[in-house]
């Protein structure tokens, strides 16, 4: 595994996950909210290319047959092969004449794959939004501290140190619990993003401060000052642009932490509400009991969370602690 290959794999994985999240409407095999009472805890329907007689075909699936409703036993109907249709009726992949659940269904008979794909939009969306807000706040606070120095600098950096020292998830849970619990999904999205931004900004602020304080001594900054540029102008036009590369790296560090934080919050019931298919909510529904043994495919959101974090870790290849 060379350096280049790992980075490439990470980029492809991250690109794939992001593309899926963006186009979730057409990738999903069903509406994530619809329930199929004939398919409760149905197993994943895998794509086949070889039929029982050993001949190769274009990708197809076998429809499911309900054997026993009480025991929730299903079997593949080997007599019918349903061709997978690509880019058909506005869906990336679909089959005619039967329901297709690529990752099975949950305890309410909902399509796990559809929920997973829609969840990508929510879970990654909230993480990305929070990271963006955290970086803006961090850049401004760090910029002010670095450019002005003195008492403001001391105070801002002390606060940053304090927030960095605390384990993020406890701060997130405490802040979230202190805010009104019953909100609309949109309000919840922004509440969670705001809570995460509060945890994330100090790390960006410290780095930005260091860069700005160093850049301030350089000749171009001296020249800008000599030309009569004010402090604010100097900061916004000349010093902050120097932190771009640093901020980009910070964004990729914050993302995995926020993806995990959303999952944890939703898992314990302080994140997205039950009806919303975020990855954390799906994990909560998977529960920790016997249903896992019966339907291990309910852990798909766990795989999705890990894959997202892995893609970023591969991309960065910098050793860091789990969030």
């Amino acid at each position: 595994m060379t350096f280049l290959n790992a980075r490439f794999a990470g980029a492809v994985l991250l690109g794939g996950i992001t593309a899926t999240a963006v186009t979730s409407g057409s990738v999903a095999t069903h509406d994530p909210a619809s329930q199929f009472s004939d398919y409760v805890l149905a197993p994943p329907m895998r794509i086949h290319v070889i039929d029982p007689s050993g001949d190769w075909h274009a990708p197809f699936v076998y429809p499911l047959r309900l054997e026993d409703r009480l025991e929730r036993r299903y079997s593949e109907d080997r007599t019918r092969q349903l061709r997978v249709q690509w880019f058909h009726k506005g869906r990336l992949a679909s089959v005619d004449d039967a329901e297709w659940f690529p990752l099975g269904t949950d305890a309410l008979g909902r399509d796990v794959f559809a929920r997973l794909v829609r969840g990508a939009r929510l879970s990654l969306g909230v993480a990305a939004t929070a990271a963006a807000v955290a970086l803006v706040i961090g850049a401004l606070v760090g910029g002010v501290a670095g450019a002005f120095g003195g008492l403001i600098d001391d105070l801002l950096m002390r606060v940053s140190d304090l927030v960095i020292a605390l384990p993020g998830i406890y701060v997130a849970v405490t802040l979230r619990a202190a805010l009104p619990l019953v909100l609309t999904p949109t309000e919840i999205f922004w509440t969670i993003a705001a809570v995460f931004a509060v945890i994330g900004w100090p790390i960006a602020a410290k780095g930005v401060r260091a860069i700005v304080a160093a850049e301030r001594q350089k000749e171009y900054a001296e020249a800008a000052r000599a030309a009569g540029g004010g402090r604010t102008r100097l900061l916004l036009r000349h010093l902050l642009p120097a932190t771009q590369g640093f901020l980009l790296v910070q964004a990729t560090l914050l993302l995995p932490a926020f993806i995990l934080a959303e999952a944890t919050l939703s898992f314990i019931g302080l994140g997205f509400p039950d009806s919303t298919p975020s990855w954390g909510v799906m994990l909560q529904e998977a529960g920790a009991g016997r249903v896992l043994v019966e339907a291990p495919w309910l852990l798909a959101p766990g795989v999705a969370i890990s894959a997202s974090i892995l893609s970023i870790n591969l991309l960065l290849r910098t050793p860091k602690l789990p969030a």
């Binding site: 595994m1 790992a6 304090l162 020292a165 605390l166 384990p167 993020g168 998830i169 406890y170 849970v173 405490t174 802040l175 619990a177 202190a178 805010l179 009104p180 995995p256 995990l260 999952a263 944890t264 898992f267 314990i268 019931g269 302080l270 994990l283 998977a286 920790a288 016997r290 896992l292 043994v293 291990p296 852990l299 766990g302 795989v303 969370i305 890990s306 894959a307 974090i309 892995l310 870790n313 591969l314 050793p319 860091k320 602690l321 789990p322 969030a323």
Partner: protein
Amino acid sequence: MHRSLAIFLAKRFLQAVLLVVFVSSAALLLVRLAPGDHLSSFDTDPAVVAAERHRLGLDRPFAVQYVEWLGRAVRLDFGESLKYRRPVTFLVTERAGNTILLGTSALVLATLIGLPLGVITGSRRAGAFATIARALSVLVLSVPPLVTSFALLLLALTTGWLPVGGIGHTSESGNWLTIVVARARYLVLPTLALALPIAASLERLQSRAMQDALEEPCIRAVLGRGLSAERVIWRHALRMSLAPVVGVFGAVVGSVLSGSFAVEIIMSWPGLGALMYEALVDRDLFLAAGCAAAGSVFLATGVLAGDVALAVIDPRVGDTA
């Protein structure tokens, strides 16, 4: 002890105390500011609720409550839990013990796996073992305790090898050895779930530090003099490479605490994280503050231990402070 080192550690100790005071005060304030309190969630006679509020002192201004709480907290009396009607100190110490047990065993396991592996992968760039170990740790590093817990639960439920959930019965009969073994069996799953990602990140950190140490001129010099590579790696380079890893020990303790939150809730391990969560949701003012105090004591102790260890390993620490 060197004087500057003593000053350095005294400073850090003061910071730790401030951290604990700040965190528990902030938790108290946040829960107090949150809409509703524990008593308002019951559908009882308003007069009864008012009387209960008065008994607990919740009807007075927050500033008065806070000063009184702080005065008692200094004597380790954190008030009474609104839900359990028992002293917070009692509840917290009971749960904190479980978290210490889980956290310490995970920390020890992660160190025992992560550090030696990191030394090997850091000193040997090529080779099948190092390549596999590196790839595996990038993979494991990406699976957070939230997900490892689920995966291990599934494994345990399918195979039946290990008991799932809880800490086992406290009143088991038999000699002490059978009790210890019985309890230890319940500890295995949560410990693994918590330790694996941390072991992987320690491996990555140690590996990088080892690579850097091996490029230092002094290490090249002893290698040039003909000391065996094994001796140089495990004796000299290891000691040098430990400093950056021990330097992040505080952050490691932080991630143990963070990780144990999810593990405790999924695995029904009755620890501090689970209790704190319960207190927050129930708006159990004093219990939440007590949990925050205990958690920040753990964190501060971990950071302090890291500082002391760093001072022992790296003689330059005291001088720069």
